[in-house]
Symmetry: C2
Subunit: 352 residues, 2 copies
């Protein structure tokens, strides 16, 4: 592969003391807003500013198909990938509605849908191939396909950043993509496949068993490459590779990254394996009820904000978390201080 990846900027902690001072001077007991304060701190450190701002928040939802569905790892017909993406582009589906309700711009991307998308639909054509290759029998992507997918993800996010976006939710759509996500989890974290597989879009136990078998066979074929990019290329999906590239570019540009559910977390995991520094740019929106998500969360050492038993993807959980993150940032920048409010600062007193 020919990817030359510059290092992700490490988040410097120089401003921590000043940000903390600002937080502690807000009219509330010290620390009483818990993780709202942690989120405000994180965004301030990413933006290197005591007055961070979330500009033009986007949800980048990337779709692809997966030849691995030939193995029987999905209960839904593959046509749903393109049908849903066109549905989203008309404001339909869960993410179409959630994005509208929460004032998030939805950016839809075709990374590898096995269908000619209606050009009237507002979906970015970044198609690499009509479907990710079946990784039970061959590498999911050729080196060239992988590079194109990764770099197109970077390019899309770079353009959004150029247009003023500094906060990005990531989501995905792709019938069959919980299988590559589980494979990535298994290989990156050396967790046995049986622990990494779940019901996906509604698989019964027999289907989950097939999924496990597919991943075990694939590991026999592709092994445990040392290079995290190589793991992503052999086991991933076109949309997962593009998401990973998008996240990578987001961090390079000091954008806040709001991670959605299981599939998006597998891209976050890949990005983390490529460069650990990316972790400080992540906010994990929710704990998916898909089986292996908890292992990803543990490995990434992230704390989900929402408890909603979601297992949908598309970016829905990320978009649901956004108003909370926005409130956290507004808290840091706009909430009254003790001086402004003429409220007595009890933390100056000796505590009981």
């Amino acid at each position: 592969m020919n990817l030359h990846l510059e290092p992700i900027p490490k988040i410097e902690k120089d401003l921590v003391k000043n940000i903390q001072k600002k937080l502690d001077n807000k009219t509330k007991p010290v620390g009483a807003l818990g993780r709202i304060e942690e989120i405000a701190m994180q965004v301030a450190l990413i933006q290197e500013s005591l007055n961070p701002k979330l500009n033009r928040v986007c949800c980048v939802t990337i779709a692809a198909d997966h030849d691995i569905v030939e193995e029987g790892v999905s209960c839904a017909p593959a046509e749903i990938t393109w049908q849903q993406m066109e549905n989203f582009s008309r404001g339909g589906g869960a993410i179409g509605l959630f994005a509208k309700t929460n004032n998030v711009d939805l950016v839809l991307v075709d990374a590898g849908i096995n269908h000619d998308i209606d050009p009237k639909c507002n979906i970015i054509d970044a198609k690499v191939r009509k479907g990710t290759r079946n990784f039970r029998h061959e590498q999911a992507m050729t080196p060239e396909e992988f590079e194109i997918a990764f770099n197109r993800g970077r390019k899309i996010v770079k353009e959004l950043n150029n247009k003023g976006c500094n906060t990005v939710c990531f989501g995905e759509m792709g019938i069959g993509n919980s299988t590559p996500a589980s494979a990535l989890l298994s290989v990156y974290t050396k967790t046995e496949p049986s622990k990494c597989v779940g019901a996906g879009g509604g698989l019964k136990p027999e289907g989950i068993e097939i999924k496990k078998q597919v991943i075990e066979d694939a590991i026999k074929l592709h092994g445990y490459p040392e290079d995290p990019l190589e793991v992503l290329r052999r086991y991933g999906g076109l949309e997962i590779a593009m998401l990973t590239g998008g996240m990578y570019e987001a961090a390079i540009n000091r954008m806040l990254i709001i991670v959605d559910g299981y599939i998006t977390s597998s891209a976050a995991l890949a990005a983390y394996e490529i460069d650990n520094n990316i972790k400080d740019y992540f906010i994990l929106s929710h704990a998916s009820s898909e089986g292996g998500h908890k292992y990803m969360v543990e490995h990434l050492n992230l704390k989900p904000i929402l408890n909603l038993d979601l297992r949908l993807g598309e970016g829905t959980g990320a978009v649901l978390a956004y108003p909370i993150i926005k409130t956290a940032v507004n808290m840091l920048t706009e909430m009254t201080s003790f001086e402004e409010a003429e409220v007595f600062n009890s933390s100056d007193l000796t505590r009981l």
Copy 2:
């Protein structure tokens, strides 16, 4: 006491099947939106409609002072109660900012602040007494005071309902009020006081020990009355009694009740003890990091939506949960069905 309480309407389950059918026909795998679907179901049942709507959402934040602070149960000076309420009324403080950020109307109420509130501030004067009586030594409220507090809570909510509000967040402000909240928890659920006390606004271990002692002494004095209203009268606070009345009236009018943190949950607990039917009107916004909250949550058998380690009150957690609840309701009413979207409904297929 002279309170004549009509029963809270039981939520009938007649519509469950039709609502479920509507949910299952949305363009997503059956059940994939987890608790978002549960919330939509709950609101639809409360409103007895397949097309529920959240109208004019308010956060009713009720404040009072507590003579119990004389015992040393709080680390903050009592002046903060009035200073913060006036601050909130100018859009300041956490709840002032959170309500504005999330498009919630903030309704501030003085139930018993020990200060003459500046009449220029937009705070409803429902003051019963300048401070709740010290329940270590006497009943927290006389029968008359209690009745006035409870009924004024009802009246305020009834007026909001008359003005078109059908969804209400409840919050509170009152230095010292985690002590009555812990006492109510202890007496209603027969949980030992040591498990019910926490740091409140930032108390050190010695202060928490005093709090526990105060509650033990109070229980010796007031016992375990059978009548839940009597428990609330002897151990509660003016704002807690008013919140309980407000919640009661909200349920009578089939309004959705979004419960905030520890203190507000103690009012929800009181309302639940008065009439179990109220539980179906509650959504619990978050799991407070205040020690005893988990026992309240268990007793009420509610599941918090947010994981934010908040311990502030004011209604902040409830307001943070509102956009999620709004999204859930919009999902039921506006999200595309399979027919509308021309997406293949995979749940009609035989599952793998």
